[in-house]
């Protein structure tokens, strides 16, 4: 039996009838058509599907769409405002924090949470907070640099 779900994604209201078993990540990708949120594993290890739900980073592959009924969701597509990149996006670009780009949306969304909680993070804090996001290309060096760049840029803007 399908159930109605309604949520706000990047400021836009979406509503659909869905099977309860539909994962939130599939809802976002297939029903809403926002394919920036990726699926990299099936055991909630890789973090490629990380989004913000009600302001908190969650793995969209580990939730059913029905659980997000009424929630406010932010995905990678909603991060840049008026064509201006978010400092974390900019940091990944400046510091070459990506290669194949597949883990990148999840990394960036995880970094949003990270910098909200630790605005001036140490290298160790950054690495610990990225425990749930795997990257196979960068060896993480430039991801750490990107987040450091973003932290400095965001601090300077305040």
């Amino acid at each position: 039996m399908k159930l109605p779900v309604k949520m706000t994604i990047n400021g836009q209201t979406t509503s659909h009838e869905v099977e309860p078993r539909l994962l939130l990540v599939h809802y976002i990708r297939e029903n809403v058509g926002l394919t920036g949120t990726h699926v990299g594993c099936d055991t909630s290890q890789c973090g490629a599907c990380t989004i913000l739900m009600n302001g908190q980073a969650v793995k969209a592959c580990n939730l059913f769409a029905v659980q997000a009924d009424g929630a406010s969701i932010q995905t990678i597509e909603g991060l840049a405002k008026n064509g201006e990149l978010h400092p974390i996006q900019q940091g990944f670009w400046e510091k070459h924090g990506l290669q194949c780009g597949f883990c990148t949306p999840g990394m960036i969304m995880a970094a949003c949470q990270l910098l909200e909680r630790y605005p001036t993070p140490t290298e160790e804090q950054i690495r610990h907070q990225l425990e749930g996001n795997l990257c196979r290309c960068t060896g993480y060096h430039n991801i750490v640099k990107a987040i450091q760049w973003a932290a400095e840029t965001m601090a300077a803007k305040k």
Partner: protein, 786 residues
Amino acid sequence: MATVAEDRLFGKSIKRREDPRFITGRGQYVDDVKLPGMTYAAFVRSPHPHAVIKGIDASAARQVPGVIAVYTGEDVKVGGLPCGWMLPDIKVPPRPALASGKVRYVGEPVAIVVAESVYAAKDGAEAVRVDYQPLKATVNPKSAHDKGAPKLFDDIPDNQCFYWTIGDKAATEAAFKSAATVVRQPLVNQRLIPNAMEPRACVASFSPAMGDLTLWVTSQNPHVHRLLMAAFILGIPETKMRVIAPDVGGGFGSKIFVYNEEVVACWASKTLGRPVKWTAERRESFMNDAHGRDHVTEAEMAFDRDGKITGLRVKTHAALGAYLSTFAPLIPSFLYGPLLSGVYKIPVIFCEVWGMLTTTAPVDAYRGAGRPEATYLVERLMDRAADQLGVDPTELRRRNFIPKFTDGTPYQTPVAFAYDSGDYEPALRRALQMAGYDALRKEQELGRKQGRLIGIGVTTYIEACGPAPSAVAGSLGAGAGLWESGQVRVHPTGAVSVYTGSHSHGQGHETTFAQLVADELGIPMEQIDIVHGDTAQIPFGMGTYGSRSACVGGSAIFRSLEKVKEKGRKIAAHLLEAGEQDLVFEKGAWSVKGAPGKSKAWGEVALMAYLAHNIPQGMEPGLEATSFYDPTNFTFPFGAHVAVVEIDPDTGHVKILRYVAVDDVGRVINPMIVDGMVHGGIAQGVGQALWEHGIYGEDGQLVTGSMMDYALPKADQLPMYETDRTVTPSPVNPLGVKGAGETGTIASTPTIVNAVIDALSGQGVTHLDMPLTAEKVWKAAAASRK
């Protein structure tokens, strides 16, 4: 702001042009493709490592709501998956797209279910009943050779696909007879599972109206996919097949090959007249993506009284898996044996390899592909020898380096390769200087007195990449040429589209290649478009693997740039009424020497080429060129890596304190991108040294079949890397570049292992097989304590 060459862009860390789409979530990966009328596939996979299929009952599955069709190996009438590399006397077992009669590894596809949704397809797959009669498994390449081991194929005795040798057996034996010292070490180079972050995927769309087939697939080489699938498997003309590899989320070798799923999806789309999509679940990637490494080796190195190497003898059993993947035979043969000379003067080498079938996923190229296995062996032996001879490991390496050769005369090894150029000592010197080697040794000594286990590991390596002269490849068994195409189409405005047969799945071609073009034509990067990954747009190409994009693909583009410039010069000379020899091309314009103000800009010349109102008599209009660049040799990057580790004696946990990498990849187009590849390569090699291991139990089950069990490196396990370069341009290509994609992986594995063994050397430990898990390290340290 226009990115234009004030001087040259070659050598500048230009920010990547592909990044804006990735950082905003607008990359276009295969799973993002959505077509009208799409159907979704799920595969029924064998739960057994080895079994006879006695029957398949799909009746219940066909009743599952949403299921459109179920097909088994009996239904799918296509050719088997071919092997693209032949060795002498090789036995190639048939590899059906869906298992027929027997299954030979856990995860082998047995049936396909096509449905209206992927959820329904999975429901259907679960409802297919397969009756198996289980047989015994054999998972280890050495024991698969034993008499009495279960046989995978009736007509392949002892599970041996090939026996291959390189080098001079008699001379090597003589060297060992007269050796002052012989160092022996059995080694296991464990099985790895690649795990690119994007799981493999395909969308096959057959158009009943046009009779043509479009395949979007996660491929490192779409043309190779098209050739093999059209000509050998599906039996359709290549003209009727288009393969698109859009944004691809990492490959590391695993996306070179033609796999069952895309073949069956193509057939199903043709049969149903609807598009069919399949995306791997990660557990399917673990089971069915080609794995890497898996060697069991005995190695011996002979030395004279001065600590100079006099010979090397290697016996390796290499697992190939249950079937031969696309390039499987190449990896443990020609990409392995010829690397055994390393950066050392070794007079004689003899290497024997047994290519073995095992009831496991097929094994093929994985980042480094053969070269990491060879380098690990050589560099472990060097450290063992240093220990046995009582010499500092850096001193032993120095003593045996091939002396500098940079004048264009290659160095001929005893195992086929003629290195293009090399100057090995400066890289080592620089790495040791960056690491502060002498101070580190003192710190280590001091630490030991306080009970700390600090280890310093050094590797000096060589790597062969940028394959390869096609004629050489052909003589060694290649089923393809290994050149690359590069087409430059100049538009009437002077903007340029470049079509490359190389494929970027993270390497940054859209930036690096554009830097080359901007330099050569003097136009801004914004006017340059790099197109790759689509067989309908690009002349035939060979794709990206073996760190070949810059050396081979870049050189092909460079040749075409020379050709369009040559034609442009003729047009400019004509317009300027000057002799061609009197023109200089600078900053995007031809001007006449000694006549300032008399010039024609690139755009003006391009426009005239298409207007053709006033071009030299007899010249064809238009301005474009295609080149097929066939390299004259591999390129041979080299370098020295140093790692410092500390072991927690209580737990065996290894912490990496420092990692220094000095690489020589020749001239560097974009240092930022090259550094990034080095970083990622190091991490992957560290993963093999410390954590990663694709384990099949004796019962043939894949024990490490998820990211919960198979330990990929994470951010908090790795340090910042300290990198530098020496620059010895490669003489074999016009750019002077060498491959940079695999050096990190090749070097870091032995560097880390050498460091850990060095840390334990005080306890008398001389070797441990990878991965150096905490328990293994703790046990080794504890055993000696007793």
